[in-house]
Each structure stands twice: as structure tokens, then as C-alpha cells.
């Protein structure tokens, strides 16, 4: 019995190791390729380990391709989107969870309806709205449409409903106003859903490429994925080392955030999945 259990565990580990290697293999290939020269990649496409590792590809990104601007744009857009979602979704979440006001049900129903609408449906008319507001090729055009999310409101409202009313009533008796209750009681208690919301919005903003590709029309407003996508289908399409280096730059921040916060990611998937 003992022997069989061990053999089974060994088989499980063997399977997991093989599957795990296959899964991360593209990332390893990416990382190794990014430190090879174009000459080495063409001469020896079979090779795994770089024979003479070089940071030239990264250097070209920094000096010739304006990596700094793209990186800054990505950080800027993602930063505003995360902060906006945390603030605005928790504000409306508080109102929906704990305050009474006319129109509350209608508002909540509308939010739940939009939660089910796929992005492809609103994409074109959203572009028309942004164009009519003269926000094409501006930071505002990249940021404003994503500052709020129905899913974020849902997450915050669900969590805030579980905060006991007695806490709020006690604060009201002590003369605290709603703003004070929100900032001193609700926000400090809402760490877990805010962590989930922050991670989910950072992830989708950092990886978003279709909207920024359509809205950012001058190079000054490109985010990282837009720049990488345009180079990889355009003038640099065959410069593999360079493109792999760009991919490493796009992927590294999100993978680091993911590994550091993976417990929260998993919870995010569970909550977002079970909406």
C-alpha cells in the first residue's frame, strides 16, 4: 500500500514537471532569445543557450525605439485606471450597499446588465463617443473609458454589504458624516476586495492593446503592447532578438506582480469567476 502510494506520487510529480516545463517553455525561449544577436539566431535557430549573451537588443529598445516613453505611458495609464477604479467603484459601492436613495435599484440593475455585455458590442460606439469628445490620441482617451468597471462596483458592493450596520450606526450617533464613515470605517475594512480589484484592473490595463492601438495614433501615446505589436508586424518583423527583448519587457512587470501577489490573484479569479 505504502509502496503504491509513493509510486503514484512519483508519477504525479513526473507528469506535473513535464506539463510545467511545456507550459513555461515559451517564456524560457523568449528570455534566452532576447540576449542573442540577430546573427546567432539566424545561424543557429536550434540553439537553446546563447553562445555570447548580449544586451544589445535591450539597448536598441532604449536608444532607438523610445522604450522609455512606451513604458511611462503604460505605467501612467495603468496607474490612473487602478486608482480610478479603487476610488470610484468603492464610492458607488458604499452608496449601493449602505445608503438609501431613489434610483438605487435602477442603477444597480443597469450595472448588472452591462456586466453581461461583451466588449465587442460597445467597442465601435465607444470609439465614436471618444471621437466626438475629441479625445482620440490623448491620454484622456486612453484612460477615461476604463476608470470605472461594473465588475469593480459589484465586488465592492458585495463586500461592503457584509460590514455590520451597527458599526455605521454607532459612528452616526457619534456625529460622523457619511464621508467620514466612508474614509474611516468602510475603506480601511475593504482591503481584500480592493486588492482583488486593483490586481484585476492592473492586469487588464497593462495587457490591453486593441483600444490603445486604435486611440493612440501618434508614437508619443503608444503603450508598450501597442509599440511591440506595431513593430512585430511592421518594420522590425524579422528582427527576432529585438522582438523577444520587447516581449520580455512587456511580460516581466506583470509576472513579478503576479508571483508576489499570487494568493490574491487566485482569489480574484475565484470571485470574478463566481459573479
Amino acid at each position: 500500500m505504502m509502496y503504491q502510494l509513493n509510486r503514484r506520487q512519483a508519477l504525479t510529480y513526473a507528469f506535473l514537471v513535464v506539463a510545467g516545463c511545456l507550459t513555461v517553455l515559451p517564456f524560457v525561449w523568449m528570455l534566452l532569445g532576447s540576449v542573442k544577436s540577430q546573427g546567432e539566431i539566424l545561424r543557429d535557430p536550434d540553439g537553446w543557450l546563447p553562445r555570447s549573451p548580449t544586451l544589445d537588443n535591450y539597448h536598441v529598445w532604449l536608444t532607438e525605439l523610445d522604450l522609455g516613453t512606451y513604458l511611462l505611458n503604460s505605467v501612467l495609464v495603468a496607474g490612473f485606471v487602478v486608482l480610478g477604479n479603487l476610488l470610484f467603484c468603492s464610492m458607488v459601492g458604499y452608496a449601493l450597499a449602505k445608503l438609501e436613495f431613489p434610483g438605487k435599484r435602477v442603477l444597480f440593475t443597469l450595472i448588472m446588465v452591462t456586466l453581461m455585455v461583451p466588449g465587442v458590442v460597445t467597442f465601435v460606439p465607444l470609439f465614436v463617443v471618444v471621437a466626438r469628445l475629441h479625445l482620440v490620441d490623448t491620454y484622456a482617451g486612453l484612460i477615461l473609458p476604463f476608470l470605472i468597471s461594473p465588475l469593480g462596483v459589484f465586488l465592492m458592493r458585495q463586500f461592503m454589504r457584509s460590514v455590520p450596520d451597527s458599526l455605521i450606526e454607532a459612528a452616526r450617533l457619534d456625529g460622523a458624516g457619511e464621508v467620514r464613515i466612508f474614509t474611516r470605517i468602510m475603506l480601511p475594512l475593504s482591503g481584500p476586495p480592493m486588492a482583488t480589484l486593483g490586481i484585476l484592473t492592473f492586469l487588464s490595463s497593462w495587457n490591453n492593446f486593441l483600444w490603445p492601438m486604435v486611440v493612440a495614433q501618434s508614437q508619443d501615446h503608444y503603450t508598450l503592447p501597442v509599440a511591440l505589436s506595431l513593430y512585430s508586424t511592421g518594420e522590425k518583423a524579422t528582427d527576432y532578438g529585438l522582438l523577444l527583448a520587447g516581449s520580455v519587457v512587456v511580460i516581466t512587470p506583470i509576472v513579478l506582480v503576479f508571483i508576489a501577489l499570487q494568493r490574491w490573484f487566485v482569489q480574484g479569479v475565484a470571485t470574478a469567476g463566481l459573479k
Binding site: 506520487q9 506535473l16 510545467g20 507550459t23 517553455l25 515559451p26 517564456f27 525561449w29 523568449m30 535557430p45 536550434d46 464610492m91 458607488v92 458604499y94 452608496a95 449601493l96 445608503l99 438609501e100 436613495f101 434610483g103 438605487k104 450595472i111 461583451p118 466588449g119 465587442v120 458590442v121 467597442f123 465601435v124 460606439p125 465607444l126 465614436v128 463617443v129 466626438r132 477615461l144 473609458p145 470605472i148 461594473p150 462596483v153 458624516g177 457619511e178 492586469l203 495587457n207 492593446f209 486593441l210 508598450l224 503592447p225 511591440l228 505589436s229 512585430s232 522582438l243 523577444l244 520587447g246 512587456v250 511580460i251 509576472v255 503576479f258 508571483i259 499570487q262 490573484f265 479569479v269
Partner: protein, 296 residues
Amino acid sequence: MSATGSRRRGQALVAWLFALPFVLMFGFFMLVPLASSILMSFTDFRGSDVRTPTAVEFVGLGQYLDLFGDPRFRRSLLNTGYFVLFGIPLTMAVALLLATALNTGITRFRTAFRVGFYTPVVTSIVAVAVVWRFILQPDGLLNRTLGWVGIDGPDWLHSTTWAMPALILMAAWRNMGTLMIIFLAGLQNVPSELHEAARVDGATTWQRFFRVTLPMLRPTLLLGAVLISVGYLQFFEEPFVMTQGGPLDATLSAAYYTFTQFGFGEYGTAAAASYVLFVAIAALSLVQFRLLRSED
């Protein structure tokens, strides 16, 4: 009485102030686009009409009729069906396999494995596409590996037969992590007493998996199926970054078709196509929820 009344009015005012920033942006960037997308799909709205929306004319169901008359749109529906039909079972099977392996009582490196399998989910498709194009080249990593076992691999992305399977493989790789997490949570909710009882009755590992685990997991599996089919019906990113819908429209999906119509400035057609897709998504979710309820 009037004191509580004024307090209530005060609270309503405060509540709306709290909701105001959200409501403004929600209205401008969600409700207006949503409402106008319905209207747009019944008009001949074109890119040149953005400045002068008054010049737009209602065409009734014209856009929808034209759409189904367009062989490229019908092709894109078939392609999406192909992708969904093979992509969903493959992704679910792989995810279930991984979740089951992670749930067999191993303790060491569990987190490391979970992180590894989930990493493709968090990474940018644009970045991942670069390396996948490289791997799928005629003399790329995949074909050289196949060569070891004597298989002469095709030029995946330029073959009308093999481009779609390649994208299905890539989509499964990108999405298995999400389902694995969901399935793992479901597996942990299967009471261990059931397994014990089955073991005492002499059931083999396979019998326990098919007779105990799978039936207990049915709600979780259906939840996973709904989640992934909503995503897969909007299949767009893989063909966009890997094949541009080619070769010869072999990977042109319905969402991709919508986007190309947008690119041509045919906003009305794009809106109509997106509603066809929306109806398909809603219908499929409805069917799956029905199944979920009737089986319980």
C-alpha cells in the same frame, strides 16, 4: 417625522454625490455606447458620419440581411464555431487533468506548479505572440520536436488546414490556468468520505474518478464551461496577432470580422455583426444554465 424625512433626503443627496463620478463615466462610456450600438446596427452609419451623425439613415434590418448575405461573415461564424467546438473541450480537459494532478495530495512545490500553469493567463498576448510565431515556424521548435518522432510538421500559420488547430492549441495554453484554479476549488469541495467509502467498496482509481469525482464536480464544470465559452465566442486576439485572420480567411472569427468592418469604416455593419455575436453568447449561456439547473 419631518426630522427623519429631511435626514432621508440628506442621505439620498450624499448617496448620489458618492455615485456621481461613477454615474457620469458609466453613462458616457457604457450606457451611451450600448444604446447607440443598438441604434447603429439599424443604420448605414459610416466612419465619415462621426462628425455629422444627422446624415445617417435608418435601413431597418438591412445591415443584418447584408451581413448574412456576406460569405465572409458566414465563414467567420463557421470558424468561430470550429474554434469553440474544439477549443472548449480541449481547454477543459487539460485544466481538469492539471487540477486533478495538483489535488492528489502532493504537498511539495504545489504553489510553484500552480504559478507555472497560471502564468500564461497573466501575460500579454502581443508579447506571447512573438514567441509563438517563432515556435510555429516551419523549422521552429514544434516541428523540430515532431521531427524527432518522425512527423513532418506543416507550416502551421500559413496552412488553411493547420492555422486554426495551432490557434486552438495556443488558446488552450493561455486559458487553462483560469479553469484549473476554478476546478481545483471544486475538487477541494468533494468530501473525502465519499472517496473513502468508494475505496472500501473496492473501486479503482479510475472508477472513483468517473463515478465520484466527475458527478460531484458537475456544477463547477458547467460554471467553467460558461465562463470559457463567453470568452471563446469572442475569439479575436489570437488570429489578430498571429494570422490576421488568414490564410484565406481560415482563422477569420466573428469578432475579427466585426473589427475589420470597423476598420473599413462600416460602423453600422460592425454593430450588427457584434449583436449577432451577443445573441449567440447569451443563448449559449442560457442553454448551459438550463443544463446546470435540470441536472441538479
